[in-house]
């Protein structure tokens, strides 16, 4: 049969990836570190962001886009501390770039130092979606079990930092933090880690230092934005 094979050799989601890369570069030039926070539901993403905003107490220009399938409860919790917009997905199990773009336009805050995107609680699908972040942070709470990294390899491989949350429960739960870190680093050897008990403020200073260091590294790549 006369036919012709035309090479394409592109990721199926190439156009979204390219768009995300352009946005990431634009944020870098503006000096905004974009942080995509992922975890299972209830691991403490919102609590960590509340603690972060309280720790900085207005000394950093920050904003939050918070994703949920339904309700704006997380945005209500964060609103006293930080400019926030709720992204409601209406059932979708992850955030995608167009939702983030809409939230950003609604937020309308240029010259941020940190933009946090709180993803939908889900350790699977959000791993496959680039939201133009510079830093992907995965939270693993001590009540979830220390065997999770190996069970969700894509999420841990695509993250640069692991926050072990609810660290104050360690004496009471069968969670071995060193085992969790070891399991995660088999998949992502360069993973930075910090343990927090965010509602008590414990570990929050170290977490904020991790964020500042990540932003400094980004600015070092971008002399124009560092001034």
């Amino acid at each position: 049969m006369p036919s012709v094979t035309i090479p394409v050799n592109r990721p199926v989601d190439a156009s979204l990836r390219e768009q995300a890369a352009r946005m990431r570069d634009e944020f870098r030039r503006q000096g905004t570190l974009v942080v995509n926070i992922v975890s299972s539901p209830g691991a403490g993403k919102t609590t960590l962001l509340e603690a972060t905003a309280k720790h900085w107490g207005g000394r950093r220009r920050i904003a939050v886009l918070v994703g949920d399938i339904a309700t704006d409860r997380d945005a209500e919790r964060l609103a006293p501390w930080v400019p926030v917009r709720q992204l409601t997905t209406g059932g979708a199990c992850h955030l995608e770039l167009p939702l983030v773009q809409r939230g950003l336009a609604d937020l309308n805050l240029p010259n941020l130092e940190f933009l946090f995107i709180e993803n939908i609680g889900n350790l699977v699908c959000p791993a496959s979606h680039d939201l133009a972040e510079h830093l992907r942070v995965v939270l693993l709470s001590t009540t979830e079990g220390d065997d999770k990294p190996g069970k969700y390899p894509k999420m841990f491989r695509t993250s640069q930092a692991l926050v072990i949350s609810k660290g104050d429960l360690l004496p009471y739960v069968p969670f071995d933090a060193s085992r969790a870190v070891e399991d995660a680093r088999r998949i992502q050897p360069e993973l930075a880690t910090v343990t927090v008990a965010a509602h008590r403020g414990e570990g929050v200073a170290a977490w904020c230092e991790l964020l500042e260091a990540a932003r400094s590294r980004m600015l070092a790549l971008s002399p124009a934005a560092a001034k």
Partner: protein, 135 residues
């Protein structure tokens, strides 16, 4: 799950290839589903079967390949198969490694029937495989 939206994007991409090449029919799409792509091959195949006949790719066949998960060491350039999900370099022990392939859902190529004359001699795969309804 997001396989369905990815398969829609895949069919759009293949339809664009068909249109840009001035072809009349897509015979097959060859894709790679990497072990760390976050995409499940079986779900891709079932979504493709469900969606293909409503697109310009009607009747096309999906050919799925599973590449190995290949990782390269940034320090010693050693390349290794990380399908067992151990990413530190087995040669020098470095933790600085980069995925070379196996973390993507890629469209490799599209095979089309290029012109009307050829199309006349090439019945639709779908028609030849499915029972036809008499007019």
């Amino acid at each position: 799950m997001h396989e369905e939206s990815l398969v829609r994007a895949l069919l759009n991409a293949a339809s664009d290839v068909l249109k840009n090449a001035g072809g009349v029919r897509v015979l097959s799409l060859r894709v790679e589903v990497g072990p760390l792509s976050g995409v499940e091959r079986l779900l891709v195949e079932t979504a493709f079967e469900r969606l293909v006949d409503d697109t310009p790719c009607r009747g096309a066949e999906l050919l799925c390949e599973t590449p190995p998960l290949v990782v390269r060491c940034r320090d010693c350039a050693h390349e290794f198969d990380a399908s067992v999900l151990r990413f530190a370099c087995p040669a020098c022990g470095s933790l600085g490694t980069r995925i070379v392939s196996g973390d993507e859902f890629r469209l490799i190529d599209v095979t089309i029937v290029a012109d009307d004359d050829a199309a006349a001699t090439a019945p639709l795969t779908a028609d030849s495989e499915k029972p036809t309804c008499p007019a």
